[in-house]
Amino acid sequence: MKLRFIEIKMKKRGEKPTFMLSVIIRLLSLAMGLGVVAALFLLQGVNPLLLYFNIFRVAFFTQYGLAETLSRMIPLLCIGIGLSVPFRAKIDNIGAEGQFLVGAIAAAGVAFSFPDLPAVLLIPLMFAAGFALGALWAIPVAIFRVMGKFKGADVVLSFLMVFPAYLLIVYLVNGPWKDPEGWGFTQSPLFPVNSQIWQLPGTRIHLTILLVLALTFLIHYYLVRTKEGIPETKLGYEINVVGENPEAGAAAGINFLKIALITMIISGGMAGLAGVGEVAGNLLRLRPEISTGLGFTGIVVAWLGGLNPLGIILSSLFFAGLLAGGVEIQMAGLPVTVIDLFNGSILFFVLLAEFFMRFKIEWRILK
């Protein structure tokens, strides 16, 4: 681009940016995202610095808040890690919300059907059912991604699947699983004692956190781990190739349908697990509004973390803190939905950051 006094050029970077540079660019994008929201808050007459400070203080420096942050981190990390897998293969799963909800339905179904099973059997069974139903909810998207004729239609489909899942819960808690003592609240009865996941006493941090951390490590070990920039496992390599250059992948004999199915099953299944943990470990009831957009925040978590397990752990911690400190947002007189402002504007700048990792800008002043 050539303006009158200045010439701006975008140049592709020769080599991949160093780890430090990519961390700095990401942190910068986070700060700019927060800056935009701060400007919007200023227009509304709310002091953003004070509000940010309060959110941060409550989320990480009070005992109650920190426990709440870690509890919120469980579903976010689980969904975010799962989503990062298809994202690496350039399969845009934006329906994690629905996969999360059907996971919760599966948990409730198993819990209410076999309330007398011992917990050591019942809880694993609930997780298995949640994973299966979440994956089932994601499989049509994978098939449609490969077989469908029109670009982008699979993305729309993955999103549209959220609504039937949500309305199914509405039906279930108003019908077969209605709480007889619910005083008109649309919710299921309390989960049977054997199906409740053990919580750290006095907090809502439940044991699912160990499962999620283990799965995070497994995904790192089997899909992401690299040696000199190349994934060490065959599957991890294939996912990367399909994501970076699908034509080359097809030429090398990589079956795209297989990759799409594997990545979407992992992603849908993990969202399902998050749903199980959330209802059986945290809320202990099925309600239509169990999610409050965790599936979308998971997308931001995955991208801010650079689709990298370690990065995702940190970014899920950040967004969990934002959710836990969200009470402060309401105290400042703002509606809860403004949390979405953070998600949206941070994602804008993360996308922009991706650009600056690949290109650098050169400019010189013309005489």
Binding site: K149, F150, P164, N174, I299
Partner: protein, 306 residues
């Protein structure tokens, strides 16, 4: 419910689906997928309501809604055109951002009321039995949607501008070698598309249900995106599709006394969208569709000069 009333509510609901769909058709015809419809629609709905409440003039509110839609679309344009970023992720962030923004814009207006846009009967036509009250005793935005359909069709398929837009969407590299400014064309289409989404959002709060509640679009923006694919990026089929979905939308209310659980009836619009999307995506012969009405092949494909 009388049949005239049912017909009239179908037209009202369909108009809400139709206007943003026309915007999304324009956007996608230029090769850019904008999944931010839901965010643009709900933000502009809030903005239109707020401005109408403050000024007392619904037309100024409508303009404000269109402006908000256009500005939000501009963000998507910058990210996906200038910086060549993933259009899906950019669109999602727009939807999420717009949802948050609507909460901020509408914060002080929950529970307030405004005077809705009044119907303007069209002399002569409004006296026709059934069709008159259903189609020709509506507010000005409904008439605008009637006019927009043929106008968009004419521009896309009968003018040089339309050829340019479609070439940019189908083969941007070829358009570029012919000296077309691909980036400018895409910018204009995305922004105009966003303004139409804004018009749709404004229609919701200024004419359809004149009140503001958080999350009032309830995911209808996603139906718009699905409708764009189902209508094969064509304004005339979009018109038919929007009326079909308007019908589903209204029928769900008349089923409510039938004893079928409400949740299942509410699923109807989404399930039918999913069914159409799957059927179209798998059954249609893409080559044939392309020959007859064209499809934006370069959708979602970033364009890099030279």
């Amino acid at each position: 419910m009388s049949i005239v009333l049912i017909g009239s509510s179908i037209v009202t609901a369909a108009t809400f689906f139709l206007i943003p769909t026309l915007g999304e058709i324009l956007t996608e015809r230029s090769g850019i997928l904008n999944l931010g419809v839901e965010g643009m629609v709900i933000s502009s709905a809030a903005a239109a309501f707020a401005v109408t409440y403050l000024t007392g003039n619904a037309m100024i509110g409508v303009l404000a809604g269109m402006a908000v839609g256009g500005i939000l679309a501009l963000i998507h344009a910058i990210l996906s055109i200038t910086f060549n970023r993933n259009q899906v992720v950019s669109g999602i962030s727009l939807t999420v951002f717009g949802t948050g923004l609507s909460g901020l814009l509408g914060r002080d207006f929950v529970g307030r009321t405004i005077a809705a846009l009044q119907p303007i009967p069209i002399l002569g036509l409004s006296d026709i039995p059934f069709f008159g009250p259903v189609f020709f005793n509506k507010d000005i935005l409904v008439y605008a949607s009637f006019i927009l359909v043929p106008v968009l069709w004419f521009i896309l398929f009968r003018t040089r501008i339309g050829i340019v837009i479609r070439t940019v969407g189908e083969n941007p590299a070829a358009a570029y070698t012919q000296g077309i400014n691909v980036i400018l064309v895409r910018y204009l289409c995305v922004i105009l598309g966003g303004m139409l989404c804004g018009l749709g959002g404004a229609y919701m709060t200024v004419a359809w249900m004149p009140a503001w509640t958080e999350g009032m679009t309830g995911g209808r923006g996603w139906i718009v995106i699905a409708l764009t694919v189902v209508a094969l990026w064509h304004p005339i089929t979009a018109f038919l599709g929007a009326y079909l979905f308007g019908m589903f939308h209204v029928l769900q209310f008349s089923f409510q006394l039938s004893g079928i659980p409400v949740a299942f009836i509410n699923m109807l619009p989404y399930l039918s969208t999913i069914a159409f999307l799957l059927a179209w995506g798998i059954l249609l012969n893409k080559q044939k569709v392309k020959r007859i009405i064209g499809a934006p092949s370069a959708l979602c494909v970033p364009f890099e000069k030279g």
